[in-house]
Every structure is written in structure tokens, then in C-alpha cells.
Symmetry: C2
Amino acid sequence: MLAPRIDVHTHLLPPELPRWAHKFGRGGFVHLEPAARDAAGRVCQARMVRDDGTAFRTIDANAWDLDARLVDCDATGVRVQVLSTVPVLFSYQARAGDGLEIARFLNDHMAEACTRHPHRFVGLGTLPLQAPDLALVELERCMGPLGLAGVEIGTHVGPWNLDADELFPIFERAAQLGAAVFVHPWDMLAPERMARYWLPWLVGMPAELAVALCSVLFGGVLERLPTLRLLFAHGGGAFAGTFGRIAHGFAARPDLCATHNPKPPSAYLGAFWVDSLLHDAAMLDVALDLYGRHRVCLGSDYPFPLGESQPGALVDANPRLTPAEQAAVRVGNALAWLGRDAADFSLGDAVR
Amino acid sequence: MLAPRIDVHTHLLPPELPRWAHKFGRGGFVHLEPAARDAAGRVCQARMVRDDGTAFRTIDANAWDLDARLVDCDATGVRVQVLSTVPVLFSYQARAGDGLEIARFLNDHMAEACTRHPHRFVGLGTLPLQAPDLALVELERCMGPLGLAGVEIGTHVGPWNLDADELFPIFERAAQLGAAVFVHPWDMLAPERMARYWLPWLVGMPAELAVALCSVLFGGVLERLPTLRLLFAHGGGAFAGTFGRIAHGFAARPDLCATHNPKPPSAYLGAFWVDSLLHDAAMLDVALDLYGRHRVCLGSDYPFPLGESQPGALVDANPRLTPAEQAAVRVGNALAWLGRDAADFSLGDAVR
């Protein structure tokens, strides 16, 4: 009998996507094509295809089918999934109005999924961050009529890292609205250096998260917005394993590192959340000690192959966590990040 | 009384550098300008300046003055420094012949330093890797008449990662000659994403090392050359903290990861060396467990500010290492990587 748990890192997309490239008259988007059908003729596998015809990824029905997800959840102790879109759909490269249309489409779908199963799913919206004014409008809609718990954002928006002045009003409003913000890598850096071996996923994503975390901390975003609730995917990526170097760099060269914020990065440990998706028992310990046992949330990257197939298996197996800390990592820390209560999900039995 | 130690990661440059930009009629090089003089009128501080006039770094006399280095070594228990050039001098962007001239100049200087203090300094050469045929010739000179122990190479050579076919003959010959190869980050990826906060050093360098390690392992370099002795700087950078993700990625998507080598990256743990420069006691433990206690060598990045000011302080303070393992990390592992004997450096007392 698996202990009940919230999975903060799961991706959902609609069963069909408009052909945005046709509609908007320019490329850079992904669409879906049926890849397999079940005995009843329903699509049970789909290909995510880029406009240029190259394959992005083949996905199974649990990427869009809520019933299939609930079957998986019930088998793995997951009482609640925090849903966010697949980052390739962020579409920050789109024109402002096009980006807003995409975000509205995805967010409407997300809200509908959560409305159907309000005790099992809680949703994060996506924002057209390339157009901050429009992103602010959509953020209001996410946190108002759509009833989402927050938003998922990329580790960068084109040339803007997360310390960009252009993005600050969005963080500011997210803090005011109590929106949970999930920071997920996308559009990974230096593709010309990572053509082989899935390196954008294995090296690029961890580096993206390190850039994002350093930008937020050195840029003073959390200094100016101490109530902003950020959660970084993949245990913060390369940040945890290189924090010693980062902290030493700040101390050694404040002329280069403390240009926007005099406080060292260590001042913000405990001020943000990460998920537990580290695939390594020793690194989970490093993360728990570094970020704090109240700041690591179970996250699995469901339903994707780089995820943890039994969400939280590494957490369950950790001998250093007390039962109360186990429950916190499985449930309580996620509720604190989301700004939700155990009663919202009938999870009273899961928090001690 | 500090235990005797070898420092595998120290940088040396000549007291003066030719104005290569003038000589070669193109830019991309660094030269030295006096920045301060001592009471006797000798230059005691210099600026490393790019051809475009922008400052790269200010350095003290211990970057070139052997006597100053020996004073520091004697104060910190360092019996032997492994010397390598400053990576900005690799100059892989230069034309082939120009690159060879630069390498010859730097290697002549390196060999002279080691000849002056053969029990205290052991040198690594640099190669014009952008011209593999010339690099092979210079490798022979390094390992023959110059008496160096091996070479220092960058994490990439322009667009080539370390799995490039162009570079394989150099690794092959290095293995045949018994050359120790020190892999050091340089020319860090995605500069457009790292304009602030010294991010090329804090995030770019660790990512460079992860790209380099993945390229060597997934590319089958160590599979084809099991006797090649590679040491990766900075404890392998981001690799240690993200190894779980990398190994899981290989298992999850062999179609993308096992394209050049069917063996998983875990097959090569213990087959290469790293230095101990992690600035984090917990990550030093992770590295010792991951790479093996016989594969971590004390390295400090002397004399630079991101280094460990007391070389090996983190190793000395590690309570999990037995005295024999401490001696191995301080001395024995470095000798094995270098292909040298304790007697070569009068280090008989330092290895148990």
C-alpha cells in the first residue's frame, strides 16, 4: 500500500492541437498526428510533429486521456497530479497575439480537465511571456475564472533570462495573486554543441535550470518578491551539484556576481521549492540538505520516459527522512507551494 | 603540519606573451600588460588583455613566477604542482600554423619550468587541436624531448566535441605514448545566455565538462581506448550531480543515446579521473562514491580566485576517507594518472 502523494511535475496536453503554423502563417509549432489506434478505434498513441515534419516525440494516450491517467495514479498512490503543459508548447517564439491565442487554448483545456476531477487534478496555466502585457492579462484569467493554481514558465523567454526587467511585472503579479510558479527547462541552450546523445535533455536541461536559478537569485527576484512561490523542476538541475562552485564564485568575485543583489545565493536556500526528480539517491540527499526538507516536492515528469516510473520511489526509499518528513515531501510541501489545503483534495489522511 | 600532496590542477603562463594578433594579422588572442610593480621594480601584477582591449583577468606574479609558487607550495603542503597553461591561451580559433607556433612557445616555456624544478613541477603541454596533424607532431615533442607528462585539452575544439572523428587519432596516440590528458573547460557554451553574474564560469564551465564527459563516454572513446588516461577538471563539473539523469536517459532512450556505443555510461565509472575541486563536502562524497576513491585527485585551480585557496582542504576534512584513501587522493591517484612514480618526486614518504 503506497502512501498517498501529490505529483507536482506531470504534463498534460489536449488530444488535438490546431495547426497553428497554417493558421498563423509561420512555423515553429508542434502538432499531433495519430500513430496508433486501440481495438475500439480510438487513438492510443500520437506523434508530436514539428512544422518541418521532423518528429519531436511519440506519446501515449495518458498524455491527454484523463481516465488513463487516473488508472495510473490509482496504481501508484498518486492522489493528485499537478498538471502543466508540455514545454514545447510554450511557443514563446510566436507573435504576441498568436502566443496569447495558444495560451488561452491550452489553459481552457487545462481548466476543463481540473473541473472534471477537482480532487485529483490541479492545473498550472501557460503564459505568452514574449508579450508581458498579454501575459499579465492571461495570468489574471488563470488565477480568476479558470481556477488554476498558478503557471508553468520556461527557464528563459528568447534572449531573456528570468532576471529580465521585462518579466518582473509577471513575477510581481504572481506573488500578489498567490500563484504557484513552476519553472521548467525548454528550448535548451547551445543546440549546436548537443547534436548527439539526447544531450539537450541530459545536459542542456540541467544547465537551463542552473541558469534560471542563478538568474533569479543573483538578479534579486526573490529578494524583491519574498512571497513569490517558485518551484524549479528536476531538483534544480545542475544547480544542486554545483552550488558549492556558485557560492564560492559569489564570494570570490562579488564585482562580477553581486552586480544586481548584494546577498549571496545561500541567503535564498529555503525560499524556493524544487521537485525530487534527481534519479539518484545520493543527490536526493544533497537536495534535501541544500534546499531544505520542507522545500522538496515529489515530482515525476509523468508520463514521459525521462521521468520516475513509480512517482516518488526514490523518496519512499530514503532512509534519512522521518515519517513526518516523508509525508511533507509527498504532500505537505506541495500544498504549501500550491497555496492549497489538504481538505481541497480530501487529503486529510495524508498529512500528519 | 599538512600532509604532502600533489596538486593536479594548477595554471602557469610565461611572464611575457608575444603580441600574436600583430604577428598573425588577426585577433582572438590575449596578451599581458604590467599592472603593478614591487619595490624592486619587478612586475608583480599583470592584466590579461584581449586584442579588442577588454580585460580578461588580472593575475599576480605567482601565475608565472616559479619562486613565488614554491613559497606558496611550501606553505600549503604541495610537494608537486602539475602545471598546465591558462585555457584562454589554447587559441584553437587560430590558423593551423599559428596555433602550432603558440603551442610550441607555451610548451617550451612549460618544459623549461619543469627542468628547473624537476621534483616540484610536472608539466602538461597544449596542442593545436584545430589542426590534428600538427597536434600529433606537437604531442610527440611534448612526450619526447620536452619531457612533459601529457597534455591539457579543452572541452571542445570549435564545433568539435571530444567524440569528433578528427580528434580520435590524438587520443589514440596519447594512449600509446602514455600521456596524461587533462580536460579543462574553455570557450564556454551559450555566451548569449550568460552575460551576467560570471555565469560562463559558474554554469558554463560545469556544463562544458558534462558535455565533454558525455561525448567521451557515449562516443565510445574510452571503449576504444581503455588505456587512455583522462582527468576531468572540477570533479567533472555538472556530470556528478546529474549522473542519475544521464544514466536514466541512456536506459530510457537507447535509440537516442546508444547510437555510437552500446555500453551505458556507468560502465566507465572508474575508467577516468577527476579532480577534487567541488567546493562542497557533500558533493566531494558524491564524487568519491561515483568515480571511485582511486580516481579522485587533489586539484585546486591555483592560483585563480575560483580555486581552493588551501589546496585539498576539503579532502583533508573528509571524515569518510581512511588514511590510506586520503593519501591516495592527495598523491597516489595523481601518480597513477600521470604515469609517474613517487620516487620521481622524492615522494616516498607520502604514499603508504
